[in-house]
Structures are given as C-alpha cells and as structure tokens.
C-alpha cells in the first residue's frame, strides 16, 4: 500500500479503523484533539459511532460498556484526562475486557502544560487505578510504529482480554510523517463468548463484572489475572537494540526521546565514542532481558522527558551490574542531542 503523509493523531485514528474499530468515545484535550476530530469525521462513514462524552470519566465508562459488547472500541486523551480515566481502566482490567486507550501525553502534575512530556511513565506502568492489575503499554517512536502498534494493540487486547495503552508524547500526536497501513501478524483470537449482546433465550446470561465480595474468590481472580500478565510478559515484551554490540555507554530511552538519542549516538560515534541504545517499545512489560545483551557496556544513561521515572525500571532490570546515570528535561522542555552527548561524556569521564 502506498505511503500517505499524516499527522500522528490522525494516523493513529486511521490505524484503529484499519484494525476494525468502529466505536470511539472521547473528550477534547490538547494535544490529542485531531484524533477524536478524525474519528468524528470518519466513523459515521463506516456505520460506526463517535460520542463526545461529557467527561473523560464518562468516556472510559462508555468504553467499558462498549467493550462488553465485544466490539473493538477506543478512547484517547492526554495526561490529566488519562488520570481521570483510571477508574474505568481498573474496572476494564478487573472485568477482563479488551480495549485500546491512547495517551498523547503532556507535562504535569496537575494541569501542567501542553508540550511534549514523558511524565506519565509511572501512571502507565504502575497502574494509575486501584487494585492488582497491569496493562500492556506501547510507546512508539515514529508514526509508522504508532500505526503498526495501534493496529496490533487491538489484537493483543482481544487475545488477552485486557486494556492496552498506546502512549506518545505531544510530538507523536502533532508531527507528520509518511505512514502505510499494513496487516499485523495473524494471531489466533478467541471467540468472544462472554460478550453482553442479549441471551436470545439460547444461553445463560453473560455478566460483566469486577466485583467479588468473597475474598477467596477475589484472590482466585487476582491469581488468574497475574498468570495472564506473566503470559503477556513472556510473549509480548518488545524492544529495539541500537548499536549496542560494542557500546560502552548504553542509553535507555523510549518514544521521541529515543530519536533524539539516536542523533546523539551518531555524533558521539563520529567522535569515536562507542554509544548505543536500548529502546523499550513496551514500557510494560519492561524489556529486562535487553540489559543482559550489552556485553561492552560500562555505564547506562537513562534519558527521559521527565525528572526520572523509567529509571526505576532500569534499576530493576540492571540488577546492580552497571552504574546508572540520568539525564532528563521536563515540563515540555525537549533535550537536545548536544546536551545528552555532554552528559554521556561526563559519565564516561567518570568511568575511565
């Protein structure tokens, strides 16, 4: 299929439609508005439905109801709005329903700002809502990857009956790049026999529920969920290793920050400094294994558009082997390749 030039927010919307999503429930917030706008324009054309909800809370609960029917549903928002959606996300995880939630994130806390930020790492990977649950979180670095991962997210959500987050900072939402819409690798998806579509008098009622008043029953449910999360960890963890074979300084960065870091790596290598990058594509599950595949590394340098959130996972994955350093900008400030390079030199100076 031919490439088309699209804005990130619209490309993600088009990817969802390509994946068979016909229903979108959302609420306006910058910098993701082009996504609901796109869906409001496109979904009626294919017999789907777009609802502008009264709030993010309502939108995610519409997703909860919609997902219960077995249809592919999506919502999108930006950081403070995603925070509001956590109630519904917890219910959806508890009731084991599939859906895709897009976070085109911005600076915080509170109302924060509207410029690119990666300060939602904790909310995305630690479960912003209550209870023992996890959800897969894809962090694309390019628009093509955003398209591919959005399409795949629907399959993954269906396969494991789980909410899946696609997170991009404001740049992913706002920028334009050429994209093409490809078929994902075919998965064997289970039939949705649990969906609430009416019994037609032919079966017992289906009940979608996250309540279990009996502690033993709830524990059993938690164990079942945990087993599912272990399966996701085993099968769905994804990452990119970039020039790590001989790298003495290994950066860890995701999303658009990883692209800036790649510029840094080119510049450092031009100066004879062996630098490489571990790029988590799934933030949860975090690619712990990648940290055993960096034979020449002397130090890790985590780079984030936050004051340091992913670094906690880097510490867990590193298991105390290498010194870990951090460079971050926040509030919508974007680190430059030079700043990052200078930090890397400082780190290497200390190592030698």
């Amino acid at each position: 299929m031919a490439k088309v030039l699209m804005k990130g927010n619209e490309a993600i919307g088009a990817a969802a439609i390509k994946a068979g999503c016909k229903y979108f429930f959302g609420y306006p917030i910058t910098p993701q508005n082009e996504l609901p706008e796109f869906m409001s324009r496109e979904l009626p054309k294919i017999g789907g439905a777009f609802v502008q909800a009264e709030s993010e809370v309502a939108a995610i609960n519409m997703i909860y109801g919609g997902a219960g029917t077995g249809a592919r549903v999506m919502t999108s928002s930006s950081s403070p709005g995603i925070a509001l959606k956590q109630e519904g996300i917890s219910y959806i995880a508890g009731a084991e329903l599939p859906c895709v939630i897009v976070n085109i994130s911005r600076g915080g806390p509170g109302l924060g700002g509207i410029q690119p930020s990666q300060a939602d790492y904790f909310m995305s990977t630690r479960g912003g809502g209550n209870g023992d649950y996890r959800h897969l979180c894809y962090a694309p670095a390019t628009l093509q990857e955003a398209v591919d991962l959005t399409i795949e997210a629907f399959d993954v959500a269906d396969q494991y009956r789980t909410p899946v987050i696609v997170i991009g900072d404001g740049m992913i939402g706002q920028m334009m790049e050429p994209v093409e819409f490809n078929e994902p690798t075919k998965r064997n998806l289970p039939e949705k026999t649990w969906a609430t579509t009416g019994t037609e008098g032919k079966r017992k009622p289906n009940i979608i529920n996250s309540l279990a008043l009996d502690p033993a029953e709830l524990e059993k449910h938690n164990i079942k969920l945990d087993n599912k999360y272990k399966e996701i960890e085993a099968n769905e963890t994804r990452y990119e290793m970039y020039k790590t074979e001989d790298a003495e300084i290994v950066f860890v960065a995701y999303g658009t920050t990883s692209r800036i870091v790649k510029n840094t790596i080119e510049a450092l290598r031009a100066e004879g400094i062996k630098a490489g990058l571990i790029r988590p594509i799934t933030l949860w599950p975090f690619p712990n294994k990648a940290f055993t595949e960096i034979p020449a590394a002397k130090a890790l340098l985590t780079v984030e558009m936050s004051m340091g959130q992913m670094i906690d996972d880097v510490k867990i994955a590193n298991e105390g082997r290498l010194p870990i350093h951090f460079y971050g900008r926040s509030g919508g400030m974007i680190p430059s390749p030079e700043e990052i390079g200078n930090k890397a030199k400082e780190v290497l100076g200390g190592v030698k």
Partner: protein
C-alpha cells in the same frame, strides 16, 4: 544529500504550516525520508507559528531542529529574532523583506531578502507569499523538484481547487527568480 533541516516561521495566517507540509509532501513523493513537526497550543491562535521540516536520504532521527537548521524561512520579524540563532554555519536564511525591514545579524550564514508579499501582490494574490518563499528556497537548495511540489499541491488542494495550481506555480517561479 545530507539531511535538510528547515525551520519555517511566521505569524498565524501566513501559511507557514502549509508551506512546510507541501515541502514534506514533495519529499515523500520523491521517496525521501521526511518529518514535519509543528509548534502547537495557544500560540497558534493568532501568535507566531512555526514548523520544522526534515528531508533526508536516511531515516529521520529526531524530528526536532535545535541549533542544526540548514535553513530558516522567516516571514515576520519575531521569527527572524527567534530562529536566526538556530542556523548552522553557512545555512540559508530566507527573509521576507516585505514585512522585515531589519537586517540579519549573523554574517556566517547566507542571507536572502525576498519581498514575498510584493511579489505575491504582483501576481494577483498576496496570500501566496509563502509559496514565493518556498520557490526561493527550492531554487537555492534543490531539496525537491518544483514538479514534486506541484504534484503535492494538486493532492493537497483536492479536485475543487485545481484552478489555484497555476497561481501557485507562478509564485514558485517568481520566488526562484528572486534569488537567481
């Protein structure tokens, strides 16, 4: 061609964003690696607007242009002040002299003064001042061909506005002539 990194800036309504998109689109038509990154938010509502376009033979790394711009196209004075410093040594600085009477401060860049609004007015529509600037830029850098931009224009305009293609083509030519 190494990566061409252009900052396009002006005030809202000068067509800065669409000028950048045309260039990006044309790059895509030529199978180059491209990215277009806009400034966004309240500043878009009547304030300054700018976008960063990268056209490259290799995959685009960071879509952000910091102090490595190979060119800047500035449509108004605040844009000149803001982005002059982002150019590399020997970069191209294209100034819309219709609205900017001030001269560039840097001497290590190649500066071109193009009376884009006057030229656009001469060919009948002051709104194509952005296209005049784009024409000048293409003449200087040959990043993409004029034909690719025309092809991109046809797609962006859609079937209803094909009659605007000749005007834009003339604007591109007049812009090119201004820096020959």
């Amino acid at each position: 061609m190494a990566a061409e990194k252009v900052i396009l800036a002006g005030f809202g309504g000068q067509g800065v964003m669409s000028m950048g998109q045309l260039l990006t689109y044309a790059g895509m038509i030529e199978n180059k690696n491209v990215s277009w990154l806009p400034s966004y938010g309240p500043e878009m509502r009547g304030g300054t607007a700018n976008c960063a376009v990268i056209v490259s033979d290799t995959p685009v790394g960071s879509p952000i242009i910091t102090n490595d711009a190979t060119a800047a196209i500035v449509m108004n004075l605040p844009s000149l002040v803001k982005f002059e410093g982002n150019l590399i040594n020997g970069g191209n600085l294209l100034i819309n002299s219709s609205l900017i009477t001030q001269k560039a401060e840097r001497e290590d860049v190649k500066t071109y003064y193009i009376p884009a609004n006057e030229i656009a007015g001469e060919i009948g529509n002051s709104r194509v001042a952005n296209i005049v600037m784009l024409g000048a830029y293409l003449e200087l850098t040959k990043v993409v061909t004029v034909d690719s931009v025309i092809e991109a224009l046809k797609k962006v305009f859609g079937p209803d506005k094909q009659h605007l293609v000749p005007l834009n083509k003339e604007a591109l030519e007049r812009g090119a002539a201004a820096v020959k």
